[in-house]
């Protein structure tokens, strides 16, 4: 975000002063999330979809499932590909264009959380080994930016996958036939992303955009159902003490449990 030096300094002071009293400008405590809403089945032409609203951050994920050709080095696995576009309408300072390094990092980190948790059993997404597999594309459009895109995007991707219905494909000679049946994806786990930032030495959960503008560094940790950490990413040009990293790990496990429950409720019934 482009920053005016003077405005930034004033805002920083405000934020830091509040944090000194254990508070944030929007009234939250350091380890509280903003209001999280998850709405599924919003795009009928997608196999699965979810709109996530986290404070004023809003993202829409859509899943498209088709037959595809496996990668040569994983002939026995289906394709699962996460993409993210921060729509230029999502904030005043954005411009249309190919994804920049931040959008690429966003998509790759969200992808990592889904992939490393082994949320989807890609081994069972095979139609004929080496020839035909299921391809699962999850595309995310960020509609409005107000901080913590990593978590909002991750929840939208996970909720869209949890409620997706895939066609059952069968081999028909050399090609593939859609049986017309619809099945849920082979889900094994529900990974949850938890993002934290340090501001003047204080660790806070779920930073807003104005907090991100003054934060020193960011850390995202994903956990799965058993509380194991399955993906991580430090970002931004600051640093953490090792102690802060361990606190972040603990928070990610605790908060992850709460949010997993919310995601499960929002997606119950598929």
């Amino acid at each position: 975000m482009p920053k005016s030096f003077v405005v930034e300094t004033i805002k920083r002071n405000q934020i830091v002063d509040a944090l000194a009293k254990g508070k944030r400008l929007d009234g939250r405590g350091v380890n509280e999330y903003r209001k999280l809403e998850i709405k599924t089945h919003v795009i009928q032409k997608a196999n699965g979809s979810a709109m996530v609203t986290l404070g004023d951050t809003q993202v829409l994920a859509g899943v498209k499932i088709d037959k595809g050709v496996p990668f040569p080095d994983t002939p026995d696995k289906g394709l699962l590909i996460v993409g993210a576009e921060v729509l230029p309408m999502a904030a005043s300072y954005l411009e249309a264009g190919p994804p920049d390094e931040s959008a690429i990092e966003l998509a790759r980190v969200v992808d990592r959380g889904v992939r490393e948790s082994e949320m989807i059993d890609v081994s069972s997404l095979v139609i004929k080994e080496g020839k035909w597999v299921y391809s699962v594309f999850v595309d995310v459009n960020i509609l409005n930016v107000d901080g913590n895109l990593f978590d909002a995007t991750s929840y939208a991707v996970v909720a869209a996958l949890l409620t997706a219905k895939m066609p059952r494909f069968v081999l028909d000679g050399d090609t593939v036939k859609d049986t017309g049946e619809r099945l849920p994806l082979p889900v094994r786990k529900v990974p949850v992303s938890v993002t934290m930032a340090t501001i003047n030495g204080t660790l806070v959960l779920d930073p807003t955009e104005e907090e991100e503008a003054v934060m020193d560094a960011r850390i995202t940790l994903d956990t799965e159902d058993e509380g194991h950490i399955c993906a991580g990413q430090k970002g931004e040009p600051g640093s953490f003490t090792p102690e802060q990293v361990l606190t972040a790990a603990e928070w990610s496990i605790a908060k992850g449990r709460e949010i997993r429950q919310k995601i499960k409720e929002a997606t119950a019934g598929g």
Partner: protein, 254 residues
């Protein structure tokens, strides 16, 4: 347009989705849905779900393209990868580039761009789900987003497509009619100034059918105009304060 494969209008004059020849698909519009934008609107029309958002007037980038006597109007029409049956590559296609141009040119006649010299006004049209007539729905939503952004306007712009199905000129094609019908004419105009601002056409129309199509497009557009006005009234006088945006999630039908 390919040859027609089945009857799209039955013996009672009823179309595949139950409409008569001059009826619109269900239409729902909400103004003020993108918090950060200066103006925005969500239109749900048939299966179309389209958000238009406007930023500006704002500084022009790159500087050397700014216009001394008016605002530079920019428009991007874009489809989400999941908005259509087959996943769409997110990079802009030639079709999207052409539609971005015709939408911009459909909106420009309604704007007092001369009131904003050296600035840029940016219109984003994002198709979240696509159905027949997405470009005219995009124009309709964009006109509202421009009004919501407080841009000075001569008139709104409304759109409605007209098509040819089973040899008949009918209003507002749905997806199947668009694919299997024998002609399509997206059409937008300024309802008070009675000026056509977008017209495209494919298929085969006789001169008479072409005339009917223009008439029908205007009649259909006037109904859309009604919905536009209601959406604006709801936004500005119906309780909700102008500065509060309802997140798109709350409005989209699950």
């Amino acid at each position: 347009m390919t040859e027609e494969k089945r009857r799209l209008i039955d013996e009672n004059g009823i179309r595949t989705d139950g409409r008569r020849w001059d009826e619109l698909r269900p239409l729902k519009i909400e103004v003020g849905v993108v918090k950060n934008a200066d103006g925005s609107a969500l239109i749900e029309w048939g299966k179309n779900k389209i958000i238009a958002a406007v930023y500006g007037p704002k500084e022009m980038h790159p500087k050397h393209l700014e216009l001394a006597d008016r605002a530079f109007l920019k428009c991007r029409y874009h489809m989400a990868p999941f908005s259509v049956e087959e996943r769409k590559n997110p990079a802009p296609s030639r079709r999207e580039i052409e539609i971005s141009k015709v939408i911009r040119e459909a909106l420009q006649p309604a704007l007092f761009l001369e009131d904003y010299p050296r600035t840029a006004i940016q219109v984003y049209v994002e198709v979240l789900q696509s159905d027949g007539g997405s470009r005219v729905a995009g124009v309709t939503a964009s006109a509202l987003a421009l009004a919501d952004a407080g841009i000075n306007m001569r008139d709104l712009v409304v759109g409605c497509a007209v098509g040819k199905v089973d040899g008949k000129v009918v209003l507002d094609l749905n997806d199947i009619e668009d694919k299997e019908g024998s002609g399509d004419m997206p059409f937008t105009f300024m309802p008070n100034l009675n000026q056509v601002t977008l017209l495209q056409m494919d298929g085969l129309f006789t001169l008479d059918e072409f005339k009917q199509a223009v008439e029908l497009g205007k009649a259909g557009g006037m109904k859309v105009y009604q919905a536009q006005r209601e959406a604006l009234l709801k936004r500005y006088f119906d309780g909700a304060a102008p500065d509060s945006s309802a997140p798109a999630a709350e409005m989209m039908e699950a």
